[in-house]
Symmetry: C2
Subunit: 132 residues, 2 copies
DNA sequence: CTTATAAATGTTATATTATTACATACTGTT
DNA sequence: AACAGTATGTAATAATATAACATTTATAAG
């Protein structure tokens, strides 16, 4: 089970916005959207984002500098993330594939390094964009 | 075989710097280091970086906004990248593991999306940092 | 309830990363 | 020589992110 986190006021405002959004949101677009709610400065946004990422409520899409709500109930998942990204329409979705996550979580190589976390981003064309 | 690319002057300067560097380099650190060679503006750096990434001579470490030289001779590899990143010393190395790359290159899910590219970043502590 | 501590907020300024726009020059064909 | 494609130079600015400091709120312990 995922640990319950009582989100603070700013965290809740920002999480709700991201959660309702269709796609990933960028920090300054978030800022613009929450200014009417009293969040005025970038740092207020980034602090909430940092916390939300930390507790796994959202993920950062590194290649896009954008944030999406976690689609996954597993508490493990914020340490083991995989996304599919359409390079045409920029649609992003979280991949939940048990085989994949097991494979990657158990991955080890000759470096002697123990991996505690990974992030995987797949790129391609989504169904819609492919048929255009 | 990898297609031969004749690097231009700026591309060569910047590739050589990254290639000699121990770890990943950031764009503005590159800029600082090549100013004595006549490269004065960020855009000159970013243009060379873009091209070098495109032809697979370097890779971008997305989570760090930094660039490292490709350690791999395969021409496929710039569409199929995996890195291990030490969260303590920030050492980064490219993983070349045939099983892993085959597994990921062949990965498909129910979304109907055909993936043409992926980037995977593993995080953890390297041997040295673990023993501290 | 009070004290202590951690977490969150507010605010200003600034650092870092990356791109737009436009003019010019080089390179390799035909 | 003319063309097309690629690379360069330069200035300005956009977009992303953090530092520093003061204050407030939440949580837990005595």
């Amino acid at each position: 089970m995922q640990k319950e986190h009582n989100l603070s006021k700013n965290q809740k405002i920002i999480f709700d916005l991201i959660d309702k959004s269709r796609g990933p949101m960028k920090a300054y677009s978030i800022l613009f959207n929450v200014q009417k709610k009293g969040i005025k400065a970038p740092l207020q946004v980034y602090r909430a984002l940092d916390k939300l990422v930390e507790i796994g409520k959202i993920h950062k899409i590194e290649s896009r500098n954008a944030f999406i709500a976690c689609q996954n109930s597993s508490c493990q998942i914020s340490k083991a993330t995989a996304f599919s990204i359409c390079e045409s329409c920029e649609n992003v979705s979280e991949i939940s594939n048990l085989k994949l996550s097991k494979y990657l979580s158990n991955f080890s190589d000759s470096s002697g390094m123990k991996y505690s976390k990974y992030n995987l981003e797949f790129f391609g064309l989504c169904k819609k964009c492919k048929s255009k």
